[in-house]
Subunit: 217 residues, 2 copies
């Protein structure tokens, strides 16, 4: 090689829905650079053991959080001279959508949840990565089943509507939303209900884990 | 570093519209690996001179084809042990949309145009990269002004409709297409016309180079 090789890393934006808003899981860095700063979970690609960068990020998430997200999507590459003080570096950024309960149960204590609308200063260019991830989720959610991956496997129609509303940052009209969901034909009713005996709400689930594209807004 | 560093490259799918169909520009490799095979234009990231991987692909395209595409988008990363026989490698793949006349004038003789529906065997995993690029273009075209970037700067409404039809692989109804374009309000009429004196066709251009999202199909 005639040129210095870039440092190749992977990072993940773990998006979840808590208290009615989008949040991400961050940890505090315990080494330089950016010692003490909050950062996305990530790590260096291990060319001798990882079969791809997707394999790298799955290994990092297993090691750092102990779980594998059901939905993981490659976001984009962030690269250049200035993003890491050590050397020219490249990060393949991923977005994972995770139900809050699943993420809370799996992540170790050092992870902290913060709202995407009130980020602390982040290490490297991680604030830009989070911004791109949120934009991607919001852009895709109005015409896809992406938001389902933020819910537990079974959920009420009200929970589903609130999830779309939180992501799209808008109120949706209830009967119109339900009509679109029915026409979309992606929901499967379970035989379970939640809530009081008087007005129990039926639980639904996504027919399968395939993404369906169609406008809901 | 405890791990062998991956080889970091960039590749571009140069998409254009010729003879009513989508084509890409390929060149024949003059070195190992895959000596003699057709391949996408690409190269190694030069960490000492490129400010980002986008800067890398622009340098490679300038050097190999002599021009800079008006529309260039990061597609995704392709990575792993098996895609390059030399070592674990990672390619940041880009899609460029280029008007045919512009591409033909700029590319050197060694480039060959082939239909995306009749690819020869390609070097590395370049066939998979082309497949992802075509899927991305087709997926985005039904609701965006992306297809405009395959046209010269001014064009007739008939040329525009044929471009959408070629990408979407469907016939669009003329008056309906024109009504949607008008409602979309992205076109600007020029004072120029083409064609015979009896039924000259007005030339239009996109209001600016911003991407507009809306369904045309």
């Amino acid at each position: 090689m005639d040129f210095p090789n870039p440092l190749v890393t992977v990072d993940a934006v773990l998006l979840t829905l808590r208290d009615g808003g989008l949040e991400i899981a961050l940890h505090q860095r315990d080494r330089e650079p950016f010692l003490g700063a909050m950062a996305l979970p990530g790590g260096v690609v291990h060319a001798d053991e990882d079969t791809s960068t997707e394999d790298s990020i799955r290994r990092v998430l297993r090691d750092k959080t102990g779980f594998e997200p059901r939905y993981l999507e490659q976001l984009q590459v962030f690269s250049g001279q200035d993003r890491d003080p050590r050397q020219w570096s490249l990060s393949v950024a991923y977005v994972a959508l995770v139900p809050a309960a699943e993420l809370e149960a799996a992540t170790r204590a050092e992870f902290r949840f913060v709202s995407v609308d009130a980020l602390p200063p982040l290490a490297f260019d991680h604030a830009a990565i989070v911004g791109a991830a949120v934009k991607r989720l919001r852009g895709k959610s109005s015409y896809s089943t992406l938001p389902f991956f933020l819910l537990p496997e079974s959920f009420t129609l009200t929970q589903l509507q609130h999830t779309y509303e939180a992501i799209l940052q808008t109120r949706l009209e209830k009967s119109n939303f339900r009509r679109k969901m029915e026409a979309w034909d992606v929901l499967e009713a379970t035989s379970d209900y939640v809530g009081g005996a008087q007005r129990p709400a039926r639980l639904y689930r996504l027919k399968d884990f395939t993404l369906f594209d169609r406008s809901v807004a």
